[in-house]
């Protein structure tokens, strides 16, 4: 956004100015929106601290959130050119996520609300992943079908109204899609987080070199788990394939394994997402979550949506991963639609169901 637009946006007074806090995993996110306009998306990530552990360590994440909280809020307001006293409301991820990490953000948001005398909205992390596209591509078509794929979640959602009506069509029954990327990356000797590394390796590889299994896509599984996912078997299958190569003393074609694994994941995800759109008569698909940054997933989703006449919306990669702007965007929708604020006694809820948009 140009400086001129930013100033214009922050000066307009008919749209609510909302700050959103996100601390459900390893990103401390502070976003500020004016209505449906993104002013700033400030992020402090502790991902480098987790890399040496090979995965996110909750206590490491929580400590990093505490350290990053005030500096990230300060950076957000400075870059947006707004003062905290200008805010109309605070929104915060109250779940789902890592309990200790969520609590840092929820406590910070409440304290801001008390200090500034403004209303507080505790909102669902997954709903925020859907609402972020409002500041990217404008008002959400209603209903929208949303596929959220990250290190912690893999869900297909029917979204008649992102502020109070989200229905779960299916989700993973074991590993999340992003988790499978991390685990396969480890098998291939690639660093954590695995997604970007597999994406890059896969560009050099053959997508059809190895026919890895597509979980829950055939026969009875398609009846019982129609819109659910399973990536645990795929991960095991990749590990066995690699082990067999190593046991035979043969080199592991890392690029081909990465490309074929990625193809299996994106094939299942896009096939089920498009099927869900068709069966629910929804012609709008939105993809969000960290795995939505995957280049093959974006390309395949576009191809299959084009073929089916479905309009695809995918926010830019920086808004697909966890961030504060998505929380602010959902908070602004809550204010615009006149939803009542959350109670100041609101808890952090690590297993908040996706059907509960606001706590």
């Amino acid at each position: 956004m140009s400086t001129a637009t930013r100033i214009a946006a922050s000066r307009s007074t008919d749209q609510p100015l909302v700050l959103g806090l996100e601390t459900s995993c390893d990103e401390t996110g502070v976003g500020i929106v004016r209505g449906e306009t993104l002013l700033v998306d400030a992020i402090a990530s502790s991902v480098d601290e987790h890399a040496r552990f090979g995965g996110v360590v909750p206590e490491v994440a929580s400590r990093a959130h505490l350290e990053a909280m005030v500096p990230t809020i300060e950076r957000a307001t400075r870059e947006a050119g707004v003062r905290l006293s200008d805010l109309d409301a605070i929104a915060v991820t109250s779940g789902p996520g890592l309990a200790g990490a969520l609590m840092v953000g929820v406590a910070a948001a409440k304290s801001l609300a008390v200090a500034l005398g403004v209303p507080l909205y505790g909102v669902n992390h997954l709903a925020s992943h859907v609402a972020v596209d409002i500041v990217e591509h404008g008002p959400l078509p209603e209903p929208t079908l949303a596929m959220l794929v990250s290190g912690g979640h893999s869900s297909l959602l029917l979204v008649p109204d992102v502020t109070d009506d989200i229905q779960s069509l299916g989700s993973t029954i074991d590993d999340a899609a992003g988790e499978a990327f991390d685990k396969v990356a480890r098998v291939l000797g690639l660093p954590f987080p695995g997604g970007p590394h597999i994406d890059r390796m896969a560009r050099e590889g053959d997508r059809v070199a190895i026919d890895f299994p597509r979980g829950l896509t055939t026969g009875r599984d398609m009846e019982r788990y129609r819109f659910d996912f399973s990536f645990s078997g795929l991960k095991t299958s990749v590990a066995r394939w690699v082990q067999a190569r190593e046991a035979a003393g043969e080199p592991v074609p890392v690029a081909d394994v990465a490309a074929s694994f990625q193809e299996a994941v994106t094939d299942v995800l896009t096939r089920k997402a498009v099927l869900a759109c068709k069966e629910h008569g929804v012609m709008n698909l939105q993809i969000g979550g960290g795995v939505a940054a995957n280049s093959r997933l974006r390309a395949m989703a576009q191809e299959r949506c084009d073929a089916a006449g479905i309009t695809l919306r995918v926010p830019r990669p920086g808004l697909c991963t966890d961030n504060g702007a998505m929380v602010a965007s959902l908070g602004a929708q809550m204010v615009i639609k006149g939803r009542a604020p959350s109670d100041l006694a609101l808890p952090a809820d690590s297993s908040m169901p996706v059907t509960l948009v606001q706590a």
């Binding site: 040496r52 552990f53 090979g54 400590r63 959130h65 909280m69 609590m103 304290s111 200090a115």
Partner: protein, 224 residues
């Protein structure tokens, strides 16, 4: 200029106090899982009871712990964010020092301990001495750095000193001289912080974790 102080400690239970000269208010919650829920309502309610608004507050003080991490962070982040939002200074104080000051109601002289629940069969502790020559609000001198220990690993002559905090409630056979002081009072925290600030002591906010996060690096896992 008189200070209006908001004090928050979540190292033991949750205690929040607002003092505005003669007007003050203090509230607390002992729900062990309820730190996140209770701190902000307590802040709002104590401000109202003391008859001041958030904009009137001139200083924030938080207990730095040590204490169970998740709850401790809730209090510290609440204090840091409130101070930032109001553009006022925030100070931190070792929570064991506050309990030591509270213990002076029961110990008049000599040495004593503070031992609080660190979970995992351990206590956070430090050793203190009463110094009658010091100001009344800051009369417990800490002799050892805050530490975490299995109580049975403390020498018997140390464990046998009068002990404040929940250590003696949890391990009565190991701390035979309990003092009737269990949880941190944000009111006493306020008095102690003001005393030290007036004496020119710098009081940085710094969570006292005293333990590393529970996790092995991939390198550590590879070398059993």
């Amino acid at each position: 200029m008189s200070r209006v102080v908001l004090a928050i400690d979540t190292s033991t239970s949750v205690s929040v106090a607002v003092s505005a000269g003669a007007d003050w208010a203090m509230g607390w919650s002992d729900d062990p899982r309820g730190h996140t829920e209770s701190v902000a309502p307590l802040m709002r309610d104590q401000l109202a009871s003391a008859g001041v608004s958030a904009a009137d507050v001139t200083d924030v003080v938080v207990g730095n712990g040590p204490g169970p991490f998740t709850g401790l962070r809730v209090g510290i982040v609440s204090g840091l964010v409130f101070a930032h939002a109001r553009g006022i200074p925030v100070h931190g104080m070792c929570s064991l020092d506050v309990l030591a000051q509270q213990a002076l109601e029961h110990v008049r002289e000599g040495e004593f301990l503070v031992a609080t629940d660190a979970r995992r069969k351990e206590v956070y502790w430090a050793r203190y001495r009463v110094d009658p020559d010091r100001p009344e609000q800051d009369r417990a001198v800490r002799l050892t750095d805050p530490a975490v220990v299995r109580p049975a690993d403390l020498p018997e002559e140390v464990r046998s000193l009068p002990t404040a905090g929940r250590g003696p409630v949890l391990y009565p056979e190991l701390f035979p001289e309990p003092l009737a002081v269990l949880d941190v009072s944000a009111g006493v925290l306020t008095g102690l912080a003001l005393q030290r600030l007036d004496a020119g002591v710098d009081l940085p906010v710094e969570p006292l974790y005293l333990r590393r996060p529970d996790a092995l690096t991939t390198a550590e896992r590879a070398t059993p």
